[in-house]
């Protein structure tokens, strides 16, 4: 039975199987699919079982004992989706927190991957995510979570071998410790009341070598209320931590104590004054002091150091942005101020991109003043339905998801008003727009690809998909296959961005709006459907599609509609895996090679892109040595970083006049092109190409 047929069967099972009357016979096909060999059918069964709720729990408990780790993942995800209804599975989920089968299973040379991790890590991730969603009824899992937080289970994981730079960069065992703290944050004061070891364990985690663990521990303490008193000595120490984010999170944690924190206000103000270049965090700490003491503190003014040094002609360019991504250091260990300073002084770029979501922990978004100091333009990547947003909403202390989204939106618009529309761009997403394989995803776990009798029907579906919340279903598939990234489930309950903006009557005219995709052939359709966008974002390189053909579509669409296009050079390589640090000790450490990156970046410049984005550059252009425990305030430029410098030197210093790309031949297509099925190409491992929308997503 293929995946699509299984989807239909599952739908039938659900149709006649409400939560009250679901019997074994009706659940059998779902459980069989969960334990079968078809991965596609498995994840759909997982969603369908999650949809059924409590009647499915006994079968899922059994599945969580299955020898196949994929079955356990699917079962845990089903429980995650049903939330508190899955409470009976807490004991077995807790057992899965120490699941260790890496040695028996083995895994490929390029594992652990950035998103998936090793098989054991994936199982644990999914179990911890399910516990987080069960909520207060997951309290019996606290002893196991504390063991996980202390790293006691990590001996069961197979780490990278000595000298394996790729493995070292992508080794994410620490995320499991951070995830344990995250669940404790969600369990709140009840956990501390019932288990006296919670507060000491969180206090100890403030010294964890991994930033993510420290931040989640501090965020958890903030949720514990007066019980956090026991962590005050550790929090006071954390206020002086060398890592700025740790200091900020520790300061905010004092709000848990309410008025009882008043004696520590001097230390909080002192901490405030050690936070540089981050006015948003400084503001949050001042707010915390006000909440504690009832008075706004007298503090040193926000620092305004000049980092620009000598003027650089590139900073005045309006026609072309070379964009780096210093916010949200994916290597998680470099001091954020030092990293930004390194990017600015290295003359690598004249713009920065900020992705306030899409990250595990808060990356304080920059202010307009900061951007002006650095002389940089900005490209925002933010969408209101992002599955990370609920965590960020809690971490920042917003009352609702809407409040969080409104605050971020206002920050973006404020920057547009300060920098000007040409120097402040806002993309509402791309990868969720055109993976046609995911257009078939249904919330009940069935899989029903839309059937188009004519191309215009495909066009109209695409219109609905990109302009409404329908495209949230894209994340449904990811939510079941990439737990490391999407642990919080696929549906935030928040509306997708265009609907959110319309509901709140938000005027986006101060910024250049963008939509986009991984398929460049849909640029004409996007410009036509969304006249409010000024540019199309094309994520390229990631799947091996021709830049020349993709650019012919984008450039033509831009010229036809009088718009711009951004070339997002993703460093994820279909042959070299996740991005590394270029050459390290003469060996290639992963990702698209420096030689290809350089050609891609310069190609984008000459081909007429108004912006070229060096995606993930925060984790590739600089590193610390030794990794990950070297001095976090001393970023060292990698070979990728040197390549970026060379590209910037070419675009801005050696060849600042690119004129206009000369393309005298117009290829004239029907407007509703790009919606027909295409066969897979002869590529390794069933990979598909990204020029056309329906070649992605089903690999």
């Amino acid at each position: 039975m293929n995946g699509y047929c299984m989807g239909a069967t599952m739908l039938a099972a659900i149709t006649c199987c409400c939560a009250a009357c679901a019997g074994n016979s009706q659940m059998e096909p779902l459980v069989a699919a969960l334990r079968g060999q078809d991965d596609g059918a498995r994840w759909r069964a997982s969603i369908a079982l999650g949809h059924l709720g409590k009647p499915a729990v006994p079968a899922l408990v059994e599945a969580l004992r299955d020898p196949d780790y994929k079955v356990r993942i699917a079962a845990a995800n089903a429980i995650r989706d049903m939330g508190s209804k899955g409470a009976e599975s807490v004991p077995i989920l807790a057992e899965n927190l120490s699941y260790s089968r890496d040695r028996e299973l083995g895994y490929g040379a390029k594992e652990p991957s950035l998103y998936a991790g090793s098989p054991s890590m994936q199982v644990r991730w999914c179990a911890v995510a399910a516990l987080g969603h069960i909520g207060p009824k997951a309290l019996p899992a606290v002893p196991a979570l504390l063991a996980m937080l202390r790293g006691e289970y990590e001996s069961g994981l197979v780490g990278p071998k000595p000298g394996d730079v790729y493995g070292q960069k992508h080794w994410r065992a620490f995320e499991l410790r951070g995830a344990a703290a995250w669940v404790l944050q969600k369990l709140g004061p009840g956990a501390a009341a019932e288990y006296p070891h919670v507060i000491p364990a969180l206090a100890a985690a403030l010294k964890d070598p991994a930033r993510m663990v420290r931040l989640n521990a501090a965020a958890a303490l903030r949720k514990m209320g007066p019980a956090a008193q026991g962590a005050v000595p550790a929090l006071l120490e954390a206020l002086k931590h060398e890592d700025q984010y740790t200091r900020i999170y520790a300061a905010l944690a004092f709000t848990a104590l309410g008025k009882q924190a008043a004696p520590y206000v001097p230390q909080l103000i002192q901490c405030h004054n050690t936070v540089h270049l981050d006015s948003l965090s400084r503001k949050r700490i001042r707010r915390a002091v006000f909440d504690i003491s009832g008075e706004w503190p007298k503090v040193e003014p926000d620092s305004k150091p000049s980092l620009r040094g000598n003027e650089w002609a590139a900073l005045g360019r309006r026609d072309f942005l070379l964009v780096v991504q210093p916010f949200g250091d994916s290597s998680l260990v470099i001091d954020p101020d030092k990293l930004i300073e390194a990017f600015v002084t290295a003359r690598m770029a004249n713009a920065m991109t900020c992705w306030p979501d899409h990250t595990w922990y808060n990356t304080p978004p920059p202010t307009a003043d900061q951007m002006k100091q650095w002389g940089m333009a900005i490209v925002w990547y933010f969408f209101t339905e992002d599955i990370f947003n609920p965590k960020l909403e809690r971490d920042w202390g917003f009352a609702t998801l809407d409040e969080y989204n409104l605050a971020l939106t206002e920050r973006i618009l404020e920057m547009g008003r300060a920098l000007g529309k040409r120097r402040c761009l806002w993309s509402v997403g791309h990868e969720q727009m055109d993976a046609v394989g995911q257009w078939a995803n249904q919330p009940d776990g069935s899989n029903r690809p839309p059937v188009f009798e004519a191309k215009m029907e495909g066009y109209e579906f695409y219109r609905r998909w990109i302009t409404t919340s329908l495209h949230k279903r894209h994340w449904l598939e990811y939510g079941s296959t990439r737990p490391g990234k999407f642990y919080d489930g696929w549906n935030t309950a928040g509306k997708a961005t265009w609907e959110f903006l319309a509901d709140h009557k938000i005027d986006t005219s101060p910024v250049t709006m963008m939509s986009g995709g991984v398929s460049p052939v849909l640029a004409h359709a996007s410009f036509d459907i969304l006249p409010q966008i000024g540019a199309y974002w094309w994520e390229c390189q990631i799947d091996g599609a021709s830049l020349q053909i993709g650019s012919a579509y984008l450039r033509g669409a831009s010229r036809q509609y009088g718009k711009q296009w951004l070339l997002d050079a993703s460093p994820w390589s279909p042959v070299h895996g996740g991005p590394g640090w270029g050459f390290v000790d003469g060996k290639w450490s992963g990702g698209v090679t420096d030689a290809m990156q350089l050609r891609t970046w310069v190609y984008g410049y000459l081909a007429g892109a108004s912006a070229v984005l060096e995606e993930s550059s925060g984790g590739t252009h600089f590193r610390i040595e030794p990794y990950p425990h070297g001095p976090s305030d001393r970023p060292i430029m990698t070979s990728v970083g040197r390549t970026a410098q060379a590209a910037a030197r070419f675009c801005f210093d050696l060849c600042p006049d690119r004129g206009q790309p000369y393309n005298p031949v117009a290829v004239l297509l029907e407007h509703a092109h790009g919606f027909e099925s295409r066969p897979p190409h002869q590529l390794p491992a069933g990979r598909r190409l990204g020029l056309y929308a329906d070649e992605r997503g089903r690999a």
Binding site: Q541, A552, P661, N663, P664, A666, V667
Partner: protein, 294 residues
């Protein structure tokens, strides 16, 4: 929705224009110490040069007029309204290549094509054995510029105002009697397109060592940038010739290494020797030297 003939046509056109694009080198033949050798071919040689923009039938006439050449592809349907726009484009000086398969029945009698349209027949090909479906074209003012082995017109051209219309009778420009995954872009049509594009593509590159390169052009206020991309693992050497109006001395400067390059200007063509290391590119700026014009 199954893949239509038009989509096969688009797909095969891009393979003709950028041979080998979006594929992976054979890892068995790659140097194991060279991480570049197995990377996907996202940049490749360009058979016609990087000379294309894609527009759609919604494109306004004023945008269309910026292009001296237009070719229709895919599932486009040239009906009366679209034909009116295209004829306005041609009479003002543009050149249009349209495939008979793209023409709606309602426009087949339009005199602008300079030919009568007959039935669809099977052509035995161009002597290469590659059969294809051919719409019979009977010139009626137009002239044939490409014929099949049997002497039947495959492409005809008609002068209209300041421009020309070319009609291609080979169905969707593809081999086979019905477009499918096995159909290929017809090689003689590729050769025709090269000749058709050449007058508006000012650069010609000849390879002496290495693999055929990618060629890009950027128009400057005064002069040109000529970019040669070498995406293979071998050093590239060759001759680059750029047609340049005007007279007098010119300068050629390679922008990556900031080197002046010796060049020769003869009969309106500037020529110089080019070299590009493996997996790299070079960008030449060509402009009139002091006292010259371009």
């Amino acid at each position: 929705m199954p893949m239509s003939e038009g989509e096969h046509e688009i797909e095969q056109f891009w393979y003709a224009a950028f041979p080998g694009h979006s594929s992976f080198p054979d890892p068995g033949k790659a140097d194991p110490d060279d991480p570049c050798a197995i990377e996907p071919l996202i940049l490749t040689e360009s058979a016609f040069g990087d000379c294309f923009d894609v527009l759609t039938d919604k494109c306004p006439l004023e945008v269309l007029r910026r292009y001296p050449r237009v070719i229709t592809l895919g599932g486009i349907v040239v009906d009366k309204a679209l034909l009116a726009k295209l004829l306005a484009y041609v009479t003002a000086g543009g050149e249009l290549v349209v495939n008979a398969a793209h023409l709606h029945d309602s426009v087949l009698t339009n005199p602008a094509f300079g030919c009568r349209f007959g039935n669809l027949v099977e052509s035995e090909g161009f002597g290469d054995g590659a059969k294809f479906s051919l719409r019979v074209l009977e010139p009626n003012g137009a002239r044939a510029v490409l014929t099949d082995a049997a002497g039947r017109p495959v492409i005809v051209v008609n002068q209209l105002g300041k421009g020309r219309i070319y009609v291609v009778g080979a169905r969707h420009n593809l081999s086979g009697t019905g477009a499918s995954g096995k159909s290929r872009w017809l090689a003689p049509i590729t050769e025709f397109l090269k000749r058709w594009i050449e007058p508006v593509w000012a650069v010609r590159v000849t390879t002496q060592n290495g693999a055929a390169p990618q060629v890009m052009l950027n128009k400057l206020a005064k002069g040109w940038l000529v970019t040669i991309g070498n995406h293979a693992g071998r050093h590239w050497k060759g001759m680059i010739a750029l047609r340049l109006a005007g007279a007098g001395p010119v300068t050629v400067e390679e922008k990556w290494e900031q080197k002046a390059i010796a060049s020769v200007r003869q009969a309106g063509v500037v020529s110089w020797k080019g070299e590009v290391p493996q997996y790299s590119f070079r960008v030449y700026r060509v402009a009139a030297a002091e006292g010259g014009t371009d």
